[in-house]
């Protein structure tokens, strides 16, 4: 743990120093919205800065934002970029599902996402940002989220699936849009998106045993995302029972993810 904390600390200090060198107003980022995870220089002298929606990364779905700046501190968009999180557990290493970075003109950022399947407890997570032929790595700490928002499930078709919940900024009582991601695990670092699944979603309050009416099952909206509507009749613990089918047969009978608000 200790040897892992140190570089993050250093990186944060570096990031702070680099931010200070900017003139106010140069930064296109709304400072309050995103939290810097790390910043480093590539071998080609590109400054790579990694952001997330909160100051901590958690197990499950995390949106990530990557800023690439050249030596003149101008945002760079025309660059081959990919993201590779890596879990080093000593004996073996594995990755996790990723939504590849895409450049957004509005924010001058590459937007991506990673679905961390485990916390930084039994090993260390690093996020590798691959740009052109260069790699910049960020050691990160992934905290265990308070509820189960991601799961690796063995499908009835012999495949292994990673299902995760995209957490919004906050949940409301009543109707909420709800989004999941579904990936298939092909190998330790290969998690292709699943686009053809049919998901049946049944919310339940485990401590009371009841559900809620008027939910809309999530449907595939591309890139491995599935979007539906959930109706929370009250606050508290909610469990989303997800039944996943592909090609007309059920592959996951009851993959459950938990929400607390």
């Amino acid at each position: 743990m200790k040897n892992y904390f140190f570089p993050v600390w250093v990186l944060l200090v570096l990031a702070g120093a680099s931010a200070c060198s900017h003139k106010p107003g140069d930064d296109p980022l709304p400072a309050t919205d995103r939290h810097e995870i790390g910043s480093a220089l590539s071998a080609d002298q590109y400054r790579v800065t990694l952001y997330a929606d909160s100051s901590k990364l958690f197990t499950g779905f995390n949106k990530l934002y990557i800023k690439i700046e050249d030596e003149q501190s101008s945002p760079v968009s025309d660059i081959e970029l990919s993201l590779l999180p890596e879990m080093d557990m000593g004996m073996h290493r594995h990755g996790c599902p990723v939504n590849p970075p895409e450049y957004r003109n509005t924010s001058s950022l590459f937007e991506a996402a990673a679905v961390f399947t485990m916390p930084s407890v039994d090993g260390d997570w690093r996020i590798h940002v691959l740009l052109n032929d260069d790699t910049v790595s960020f050691p990160v700490e992934v905290h265990d989220f308070e509820t189960k928002v991601v799961g690796s499930f063995s499908g009835l078709d012999g495949e292994k699936y990673v299902l995760s919940l995209c957490r919004p900024a906050h949940w409301n009582v009543g109707l909420n849009d709800i989004t999941f991601t579904l990936h298939r695990q092909e190998g330790p670092f290969a998690y292709p998106e699943v686009l053809d699944a049919i998901i049946e979603m049944t919310p339940e309050m485990p401590s009371m045993g009841h559900g809620s009416p008027n939910n809309v099952h999530p449907v595939s909206i591309g890139n491995g995302y599935y979007k539906g509507v959930v109706n929370f009749t009250m606050t508290g613990d909610w469990r989303m029972h997800l039944k996943v089918s592909r090609n007309g047969t059920v592959v996951l009978e009851d993959a459950a993810l938990d929400i607390l608000f």
Binding site: V173, G174, S207, S212, P213, M234
Partner: protein, 675 residues
Amino acid sequence: MYRIKFFLPLLLISRSLLAQDKPVTDSLWAMPEVQLQTVEVQSFQQQGLKKDYKKTPDLQQPVDKLLSGIKGVQMIRRGNFAWEPTIRGLSGGQINTTIDGMYVFGACTDKMDPVSSYIEPANLQTIQVGYGPGAAQHGTGIGGGFDFRLMKAMPDTAFYIKGLAGAGWETNGAATKIMGAVQAGNHNWAIGANGVFRKSGNYRMGGGKQVDFSQYTKWNGGLNATHRLGNHHQLSVAYLQDEGYDIGYPALTMDVAYAKAKIGSLSHTYSCGHHRLFRWESKVYYNFVDHAMDDTRRPSDQVPMHMDMPGDSRTAGFFTKALYRLNDKSVFTLLVNGYQNRLHAEMTMYPDQGAEMFMLTIPDAQRNMIGLQLSNQYDLFPFWNMEVGIRMDYVVSGIYTELGRQTLSGMHSGTTDRKQAVLNVFLQHNWRLAPNWELYAGLAKAGRAPTLQELYGFYLYNRMDAFDYLGNSALKQEQSWNVTIGTAYKREKWEVGLNGFSYFFRDYIAGARRADYSVMTIGALGVKQYTNLSGATLYGIELEAGYRPFKGLRVATTQAYTYGRDHEGAALPLISPLRSSYSMAYAYRGFRAEFSMQYQADQHHVSTEKYGERPSVGFTVLNATVGKSFTAGKHKIDLNVSMENIADVRYYEHLDIMKVYRPGRNLILHGTYNF
């Protein structure tokens, strides 16, 4: 104003038969007499033409018992406290309940606090009962309603001070009560104050078994002041506060930690007997009801999960009511009134494991109402008079918080706001076929807006059918045609009255099962959502007769039967079977005695499957009372000894939720000192 000279609780007299020489309208709108001795029940037999006066000299009778003695009134009982009145099988939003014309709405989602539970006889002067739309009402309604007229000190020609103090004790439940009232006034001002405290432990049913969670504690206090401005104007302020604590509801899964009401008003009255505009009363008011359920005293096997369920209700409103005498034969009444009511009810659940859960059960619902009512009482001929009137309410309902709107977003598509115009029209004719024989007939087209619970309720658990109820913001107004016909005949020694009524409903509001919804309450059988049934019908017949063989003795009986069914022929819920009462009363020189018998038949006309109601078994209960008044000058002491349920019968009434047995034999001592 007619006053019964001997003790006959709730004796029934036809006013127009007794006061033939006076025009009906004259005393109908007369100022209420100021007195501390009695509570008076004015029962508007149809649209206000024929009034029945009933009085009880026992000021310590609780309101629940006073109400249940009124013809056509049955009480829904959930415990030994705060019974919910029904009129001819109609209840809830179908009847109007006002206090001095002020709208007050209970805050409890489980109907634990009907408005009548915040009134005590110590501050009550008159209970006005109506059986349909009519001049006595302050709003649209199908089944009429109650107006509880509070006691007010009034200026008098000379200085006066009077008051009373009383105490009561009951063996069953070791119930105690103390009360007091004082009024003082002179030519220009008057003030009054009253208070009561009562407390009861668990009572015992017939046979002696204790009914757990049937205790209550409450106090009630009132203050009022009136100032006379000139000869015709008066300004009054009145404040009433009622607080109940630790109230058990054996028929429900929870008790009540507290139930509090604060009711205040400011009013102006103009009266001038000989002017055409002979009375004009205006009032602004505000009330706040705060209520919290409690399950902490129940044994753990009765409480699958601890919950807090508070609720509150706030109402601000006004009315102005003018009476205009066109000529000796015709009086017009104009009423404009309005209110805003806000209801909030929430529930926090604490599971043994996992996070606490919070929800709104009445998601911050609001109603604005404004209404206009015009009625006319007209003596067509000396033997024929009529009342005709129209009332229009404009009712706007909605949700006043974002959290409330979010809560309903998963249940109601589109806007939850509702605007409804509700029309009531009523007509009544009264014929005196002979000096001692009267015939009357009434027809009314009635409607009512759905209640806020019916529109927006969110998983409100109904213990009777064990279903969770959901509101439906798309509900249409419930409408009905009311028809009444009746006759009264009186001889020197006996009188008899008979009347029949029917209500033909359209868009009757009832819960319909939603099989696609899962229950919220642990143990509930399913979910129902309020819906409009295409129709329902209610019929009834009421008979009363009295015989007075010699001065001081009276034998009387009342019989009532009501039959209700919906559009599919299923029995409507909460309809009493045949009920009979027989009484023999004797009064002589301040001494009084009464022996009475209450009978209720079995009720097999129920729809268990549709409305969750089970058949009930009938009963006969015997009661007796003896009392004596001692008078010395202006001092009067009144002693009363009653025994209820003499035979210690184990019984319940059909409207008693969960068929919790009523109290067994109970000896009641009441003593009151008046000065």
